[in-house]
């Protein structure tokens, strides 16, 4: 089970992910509402895994992913993309994302994906 940082600009999606991951036995050690805050929280909290929304204000998820990978090349980041943004997935994978989930998502699949990424 891991310590997880949830990054999404909507409170609703953060609450949903928090609930799903908590049910999966993980500890939510922090939340961020944009990319810049995500990078700061990553430095401060050193999570085992980050769930990262792609489209966010200030700094988007891809930029935040780049910054996090510069801080820690082994960082585990799972990207959350919306339907129709699948092309962003390739870019995120090239940048170092370990996994990706497409919104809307279903709890068991999210738990499985996070478990797989934590195992790597």
């Amino acid at each position: 089970m891991g310590k997880i940082l949830i990054v999404d600009d909507t409170l609703f999606m953060r609450t949903l992910l928090k609930n799903i991951l908590f049910t999966g036995g993980h500890t939510i050690i922090g939340e961020a509402g944009d990319g810049a805050e995500a990078v700061e929280k990553f430095k401060e909290l050193k999570p085992d895994l980050v769930t990262m929304d792609v489209v966010m204000p200030k700094m988007n998820g891809i930029e935040a992913l780049k910054s996090i990978k510069q801080l820690d090349p082994a960082a585990r980041v799972v990207m959350c993309t919306a339907v129709g943004q699948e092309q962003m997935v390739k870019l995120a994978i090239k940048t170092g994302a370990r996994g990706y989930i497409v919104k809307p998502f279903q709890a068991p699949k999210v738990i499985e994906e996070v478990k797989n990424v934590l195992a790597t």
């Binding site: 609930n19 799903i20 092309q87 990706y100 279903q106 994906e113």
Partner: protein, 268 residues
């Protein structure tokens, strides 16, 4: 003609027969005594290892067949190759996304799309996947990256064993357009305006989709049980959801309180 063991439904009872599978027809011996040419089949569905074959000749009827996977696979291939259906050569990826997670290693398969009365079949040398039209949640003409290029595809979101699964079809744009229009028309009864639910009700629907129960939804959205009940009624009324379980809340009677008090005392 090959003969294989199978069960067919006859007079509302399953009976064991030696099913004859020829290149152009299925032969069911006595007591059924029936020959079904594949080209007279106008619908094929599969539910839990049972094939449901609807045909027009010799008379309009339906036959249900159960057998081992290998036999059903042969039957499906023969029927889907010759039956009365809208058929096109295409590449498909099914499933491409399951429960919001892209399926690792999902590959484009070369094969054909066969659209029958109640479903869409993806058929390749190794696969026959059926999506019942009633299970198709959304059909979109969209783009995805194929070999580095943005390519037009038809994406079909459907419900499979309680999970939302997306499948993708790739073929020339003009054919995709025809397929898209055909599928949209076949499923138009399920189209909605998109403004039937207000913000909170949409959030409730999203949480249900994500697998949350009513207790979790109430606490996440901070809404009382009565309000959630009303939203559930709205969702059910629109045909967007169905009741799977009824949860009860009770309070203890005086007798119950006494029982618990006694039980606590005896634990001391």
């Amino acid at each position: 003609m090959k003969e294989v063991p199978a069960k067919v439904e006859f007079n509302n009872t399953w009976i064991v027969v030696k099913l004859g599978i020829a290149e152009d027809k299925i032969v069911i011996p006595a007591p059924v005594n029936l020959e079904i040419p594949y080209k007279s089949v106008n619908d094929l569905a599969e539910k839990k290892s049972t094939l449901i074959i609807s045909y027009k000749a010799p008379a309009e009827a339906t036959l249900k067949v159960k057998s081992v996977d290998k036999v059903l696979e042969i039957l499906k291939k023969l029927i889907l190759n010759s039956c009365n259906a809208y058929r096109l050569a295409a590449y498909f990826k099914s499933p491409a996304i399951r429960g919001g997670v892209l399926v690792t290693g999902a590959q484009w398969e070369k094969g054909s799309i066969v659209v029958v009365k109640t479903g869409i079949w993806f058929v390749s040398a190794t696969k026959q996947v059926c999506i019942p039209l009633l299970d198709a949640a959304e059909i979109t003409l969209t783009k995805t990256e194929v070999q580095g290029k943005q390519t037009d595809i038809v994406r079909i979101d459907h419900v499979d064993a309680g999970e939302v699964v997306a499948s993708q079809v790739l073929c020339p744009l003009s054919t995709l357009q025809v397929l898209f229009n055909f599928l949209k028309d076949a499923t138009k009864g399920m189209d909605m305006k998109g403004n039937e639910l207000d913000g909170v009700a949409q959030q409730v629907a999203m949480l249900i989709y994500s697998g949350m129960d009513s207790h979790a939804i109430e606490s996440m959205l901070n809404i009382p049980h009565k309000q959630l009940d009303g939203i559930y009624d709205q969702i059910i009324g629109l045909g967007l959801g169905e009741v799977t379980a009824i949860r009860r809340e009770i309070q203890l009677t005086t007798k119950g309180v006494r029982y618990i008090s006694d039980a606590t005392k005896s634990q001391k």
